[in-house]
């Protein structure tokens, strides 16, 4: 499971805060109108108290218990609160972690909570620590989008790497992460990053390489990185000379 960081949780917090404010404003108008019309002060006072009480302390407890660890803000950000082992929350967990917002908020604007999160490996705030909970991310549906190398690797580029090249799982993961970022980074930076590891691989395989980024892409392919023929023929060049790195479109859309 992916533990969610402060920024996404912050956005979720903001969304929830906005919803709470809107609910209060809406109900306040209703209560004020009713109070004026009915002229029965105890009712409007009572309504206001219950609304304030509920919004301030009940909102999170209500939603996190009814929606299995989610609030509207968390749902919008695809976050969920779970027990540390991934189990669902009990009512006590929900109450504990949300009452401790009082401590996390101090001295103002969740400062304590943020500091505690910064020092914790799983971004747990005080409430999470006491209740034994954490907030995980359930999003990531964009992972698995086609991994493309542009322009496609030529046969010559692939030939540089011996077919017997073998990498460890961690190395393959690292290469894949890097190749997925190619194109989103500054080209100079890409080159720089690739240059950090490319000589190491080249030395191990006993080969020479030109462009480190292309070399790493070729290495990934030759070492068994997930390669399939593109679903439609590439626009330029012939298929015999080019290989495109792409993942299956196996993800449910």
């Amino acid at each position: 499971m992916n533990v969610a960081g402060p920024s996404r949780r912050g956005v979720a917090y903001g969304i929830d805060l906005l919803i709470r404010v809107l609910i209060f404003v809406a109900l306040w108008f209703v209560a004020a109108l009713a109070g004026v019309d009915i002229d029965f002060e105890a009712v409007s006072t009572g309504v206001q108290l219950v609304v304030l009480f509920t919004l301030e302390w009940g909102y999170y407890i209500l939603f996190e218990s009814l929606w299995n660890g989610q609030t509207p803000g968390k749902r919008a950000m695809s976050l969920r609160t779970v027990k540390e082992g991934g189990y669902p929350l009990t009512l006590f967990d929900v109450v504990l972690r949300n009452l401790l917002r009082g401590a996390d908020w101090l001295p103002a604007f969740n400062v304590v909570g943020l500091v505690v999160m910064a020092f914790d490996s799983r971004f747990r705030r005080l409430g999470d620590l006491v209740a034994g909970t954490m907030v995980v991310s359930e999003s990531g549906r964009s992972i698995g989008a086609a991994l493309t190398i542009a322009p496609p690797l030529s046969a010559a580029e692939l030939e540089v790497v011996p077919a017997s090249a073998r990498l460890s799982g961690a190395e393959m993961d690292a290469l894949e992460s890097f190749l997925r970022r190619v194109g989103t980074l500054n080209p100079v930076r890409e080159h720089e990053l690739a240059q950090m590891v490319a000589p190491m691989f080249a030395e191990r395989l006993g080969v020479r390489h030109a462009d480190p980024v292309r070399f790493l892409a070729a290495l990934f392919v030759r070492a068994g990185g997930h390669v399939v023929a593109p679903p439609t023929p590439p626009r330029r060049g012939s298929r015999t000379q080019q290989a495109t790195i792409a993942t299956h479109d196996w993800r449910p859309s």
Binding site: G35, Q48, L49, P88, G102, R141, W250
Partner: protein, 329 residues
């Protein structure tokens, strides 16, 4: 065992073979409908698919397949898990067990913390009252003068003659909101080794006492005491209980009995949670009384009798509820 690099073909085969199952599970989870409302066959299907995906995650990891596949399966398994194993619905019987037995038992078991919290709250309160009865101006040291005067004026008017809506509604709202917030804060700040609880108990005791003393010396004593006593049975006690829960939490951090601080805290977690939930329920009741009953125009004598009844009820509940029954607290 095959080397990681030799999986090139089998990853395709793997994905091709399993893909339909993954999609089916994803679709079922996307329905975003409580699982128990689905057709029984579908529920069984989700369970079956979930176990398949768990196995697939392991296979994908072990075989060193692409990160994206592992990540996707991981997430799919996690989503299915969270849907399948959601906490049991909160049964009324569970809450009833808390109210009828567990909460009062835990209270009696944590009597040391309760005693400490009571002392930390009540003594400053009495000091505040006495001090401000002798010299009302002292109250301005802890509560803004404007607020004190507004309160004294409001209580001097009493509740029989109908209060002016706009002033009172917002004012009472503010105080309830404030008091409930105080109570929760008293609890929450116990995480700072109990120091927060101590601070908030003492400071709130003083300011409540000072306000009381000021208003009484301004001649509206009868009115404010009448107002406070009704919901006070729940609210003042709930503040003390919250404080006790906070102190217990802080004490667990200080006296770890060989555990790590976090472990020690976790061990006290259930008891602390019971106290906090119990106090929260009491505050809910207090809010209703304060909203509907305390400011109403009912005759003072009836309010006194009710208040006395409520205090007796609460005390009897603390002392006697949940006794004589076997079973875990």
């Amino acid at each position: 065992m095959k080397a990681p690099g030799s999986q090139r073909v089998s990853q395709d085969a793997f994905v091709a073979a399993r893909r339909a199952h993954w999609q089916q599970l994803d679709q079922l989870l996307l329905q975003n409908k409580a699982l128990h409302r689905l057709h029984p066959d579908l529920i069984a299907t989700v369970g079956r698919l979930y176990r398949m995906v768990c196995a697939d995650v392991m296979r994908a990891r072990g075989a060193g397949y692409g990160q994206d596949i592992v990540a996707h399966l991981d997430l799919l398994a996690a989503r299915a898990h969270n849907r399948l194993y959601r906490a049991t619905p909160y049964r009324i019987s569970r809450l009833w067990a808390l109210v009828a037995r567990e909460f009062p038992r835990t209270l009696r078991e944590s009597w040391r913390f309760l005693a400490a919290a009571s002392a930390l709250f009540v003594l400053p309160l009495l000091v505040g009252v006495v001090a401000c009865l002798t010299d009302p101006d002292l109250a301005t040291a802890v509560v803004p003068r404007g607020q004190l005067e507004m309160l004294a004026e409001a209580y001097a008017e009493g509740f029989g003659g109908g209060r002016s809506e706009s002033v009172d509604a917002s004012m009472t709202g503010f105080y309830v909101y404030n008091n409930v917030g105080i109570s929760f804060r008293v609890f929450a700040t116990g995480i700072f080794f109990g120091l927060g609880s101590v601070f908030f108990l003492v400071s709130n005791g003083i300011s409540i006492g000072a306000t009381l003393g000021y208003v009484i010396s301004a001649g509206a004593g009868r009115s404010i005491v009448t107002f406070i006593m009704g919901h006070g049975a729940f609210e003042l006690t709930a503040i003390v209980i919250s404080g006790a829960a906070g102190l217990r939490m802080g004490y667990a951090l200080v006296r770890t009995e060989g555990l790590t601080r976090l472990g020690s805290l976790r061990r006290q977690g259930p008891a602390v949670a019971r106290l906090a939930v119990g106090a929260a329920i009491m505050l809910g009741i207090a809010a209703f009384i304060e909203g509907f009953w305390s400011p109403s125009g009912v005759a003072d004598e009836i309010k006194w009798a009710t208040a006395a009844g409520l205090w007796l009820l609460v005390m009897a509940y603390f002392v006697f509820a949940g006794r004589g029954e076997e079973g875990a607290p």
